[in-house]
């Protein structure tokens, strides 16, 4: 492998630090790391705080425009092709899994992105949280294979 290829492979891998970092910035600035804010958003029937809907709307809009502008005309900058989900079927695992996730999200006010983003801010709480989440992922992927 030539020096250039080693460099470009190094670049291709490390460049993901940037979107990861931007994602972390966005989560922190928008208040997604504050579980009380999440619970306030979910308390539709009691002093509802709808502001977090703007986070999702903003995220979806930017993502939609970016994808539209780019996807049909180009190959990705650092990959040969896009890796997009292909499944279309509305099946039992989709509904059951999402329903379970919703309960978990509401109990603590955390979803996976904010768990990762807050791990260094409150390590003693979020590091065990992170580990148990991983255990749940492993159990879940085993169960899904049998569905």
């Amino acid at each position: 492998m030539s020096g250039f290829n080693v460099m470009s492979s190094f670049f291709r891998t490390t460049v993901v630090l940037i979107p990861g970092f931007l994602f972390g910035l966005g989560l922190a600035i928008s208040g997604m790391l504050n579980p009380n804010k999440i619970i306030g958003f979910l308390s539709v029937f009691d002093s509802w705080d709808p502001s977090l809907a703007l986070v999702m709307t903003g995220g979806v809009l930017v993502n939609y425009v970016g994808l539209r502008l780019y996807k049909n005309r180009h190959q990705p900058l650092i990959e040969k092709k896009f890796h997009l989900p292909t499944r279309k079927k509305i099946d039992k695992p989709l509904i059951l899994g999402s329903a379970i996730f919703g309960v978990g999200w509401a109990l603590s006010g955390f979803c996976p992105g904010p768990v990762v983003a807050s791990i260094f801010i409150n390590f003693s709480l979020m590091a065990p949280f992170f580990c148990i989440l991983i255990v749940g992922l492993l159990v879940g992927s085993r169960l899904k294979e049998k569905m």
Binding site: V44, M56, G59, Y64, K89, G97, F101, G102, L133
Partner: protein, 105 residues
């Protein structure tokens, strides 16, 4: 495509690890910069008992693995791709989350 998918790939021996780790490292350090620049602490509070928190963590992992995605995967990437599966997933987890808060908080 979302964070739960990236995490699942991290513990799947058939999937590449390094870019996933780096993405997550970026996500975990971004908020540190926000605290540094704003000179304000970000409160990451515990809103329930430790047992409930750990139950929550397990259910989040379990549910996102079975349901193939979370708020970022289905909610942001999926909706932006106009995926019907993701729309159904988002409606489902919002419904159970709102119901959980209504009955238990």
């Amino acid at each position: 495509m979302g964070v739960s998918g990236i995490l699942a790939g991290l513990v799947d021996r058939h999937k590449l690890k390094l870019w996933r780790l780096l993405f997550l490292l970026g996500t975990a350090t971004g908020p540190i910069l926000v605290m540094f620049l704003s000179k304000k602490n970000i409160e990451v509070t515990q809103v329930a008992s430790l047992t409930t928190m750990m139950l929550s963590a397990f259910l989040i992992g379990l549910g996102t693995a079975i349901g193939s995605g979370c708020t970022s995967g289905h909610g942001i990437c999926g909706l932006a791709r106009l995926s019907v599966r993701s729309l159904i997933a988002v409606i489902t987890f919002l419904f159970t989350a709102v119901a959980t808060v209504y009955f238990f908080k």
